[in-house]
């Protein structure tokens, strides 16, 4: 008996097209999108656990997620079109591994962890470590499956925001997108996470900008703007016939990072 090549199918909005074009080739598809245990959003006191087969539409419409993680709700609302969002899953967007995936960029800003299951057990890995390259995930969909995406709720007061620029609002890839998280001790910033894409082969963390913000007052707009300038300096967007010149997109990095930091600071109140 020959070994059948199997592969996990979730929403299929990418995979089904790849099968048609020959980019993917399988003998067996295992559809996990209706498994009840993968279909829930569990909001706990210390963390939120997303089943990997939750759809983008479900996250975008979820009242508690909109309040807790507006960056994620806004990112999910930017994916494709309503018809795509009703089908496409969180886990699928991660495994498709596009650097600017609109749900992944905010998830990385929120330091999401993924639980991955295979016949040899389960492991938990930071989402940002799951990118091998553009369109290439370290999750091997022929052998393993993402089961959960876990986001810890920060200890101190925190806020997050997401923004993107694209030619139109639906069915349109981002020219640049960005997500920011600010955590404070009630006075000053103790942790910042700034993610922007597509400016690298993975969602890009502007780590120098993040470090700059630690110890700063979140209501200091000058410091937030300075962090955005540092992020602009760190990012290396390429010239793209589809998305625009690198030079233009570098400016957008500053604008979008600044916008998300301002918005997050505003949400801190």
């Amino acid at each position: 008996m020959t070994t059948k090549r199997g592969r996990v199918l979730a929403g299929g909005t990418d995979l089904f097209l790849w099968l048609k074009s020959g980019k993917a080739d399988v003998d067996v598809l295992v559809d996990v999108s209706a498994i009840e245990a993968l279909r829930t959003i569990d909001v706990r006191d210390d963390q939120v656990v997303f089943g990997a087969a939750v759809t983008h539409a479900e996250v975008a419409a979820h009242r508690e997620i909109k309040a807790l993680f507006p960056a994620l709700a806004d990112g999910c609302r930017s994916v494709g079109s309503p018809q795509i969002r009703n089908v496409a899953t969180l886990g699928g967007n991660i495994v498709s591994a596009q650097p600017a995936a609109d749900s992944v960029v905010p998830f990385v800003a929120l330091d999401a962890q993924c639980e991955i299951a295979s016949s040899s057990g389960t492991r938990v890995v930071p989402l940002e470590e799951l990118y091998e390259g553009v369109g290439k995930s370290r999750v091997d969909a022929t052998k393993e499956i993402i089961t959960k995406i876990i986001v810890k709720r920060p200890d101190g007061p925190s806020a997050n925001a997401y923004s993107r620029i694209s030619p139109r609002e639906a069915m349109s890839l981002p020219v640049v997108n960005a997500a920011s998280l600010i955590v404070t001790d009630g006075k000053v910033i103790v942790e910042a996470r700034i993610v922007t894409a597509p400016v690298a082969t993975t969602p890009f963390r502007a780590k120098r900008a993040e470090a700059f913000l630690v110890g700063k007052n979140p209501s200091s707009l000058g410091d937030l703007a300075e962090a955005a300038s540092i992020a602009q300096d760190e990012a290396r967007p390429r010239d793209s016939l589809v998305r625009g010149s690198g030079e233009y997109r570098k400016i957008l990095v500053k604008d979008l990072v600044e916008m998300t930091l301002y918005r997050a600071a505003e949400r801190l109140g």
């Binding site: 909005t13 089904f16 559809d31 999108s33 539409a57 309503p82 018809q83 795509i84 089908v87 639906a170």
Partner: protein, 158 residues
């Protein structure tokens, strides 16, 4: 070949299908529901939109076995006893039809929206229809049609 059991336009359906096919192909060829249109065949244009358990999806990128146990509604499922759905009437009144190719999908997205939100504002209408391309560019008439449809549905309930 696999056995598919689902409910299409309120009727239980059992079919033997090749699981590599997409839903739109089975709806059109096997069930002769040719109101479902094939446009881009890659989930961009919305012409193949059907309701899947009440929610709009692009049936061109749905592997057919995903319909197992589901309720599918196509444009043929809207009229009841020979009477058009109020949304269909509204599209005619608003002149929201030109070549007609995108219309079945748009009407179904409109139905999903109005079922959930009987009085949508302009922004909500635009978002709900954002996954549809109309190459005749009759977008403003869609907006008028949905306003008329919302009034018709409210009047029927009153």
């Amino acid at each position: 070949m696999q056995e598919l059991n689902c409910v299409v336009n309120g009727k239980e359906v059992t079919l033997r299908v090749d699981p590599t096919r997409n839903l739109v192909d089975v709806l059109r060829r096997d069930l002769k529901l040719t109101g479902v249109k094939v446009g881009c065949e890659e989930g961009e244009c919305g012409a193949c939109t059907v309701l899947f358990d009440g929610k709009p999806v692009n049936s061109c990128i749905i592997p057919v076995m995903k319909a197992q146990g589901r309720h599918v509604i196509t444009i043929e499922g809207l009229a009841q006893d020979g009477e058009l759905d109020p949304i269909q009437e509204a599209f005619i009144e608003a002149g929201a039809i030109q070549c007609g190719f995108c219309t079945p999908g748009v009407v179904l997205s409109a139905k999903a929206l109005l079922d959930e939100n009987p009085d949508p504002d302009k922004e909500e209408i635009c978002e709900a229809l954002s996954g549809h391309l109309c190459r005749c560019t009759g977008y403003l008439q869609f907006y008028d049609a949905l306003k008329i449809a919302a009034e018709k549905i409210a009047a029927r309930k009153a």
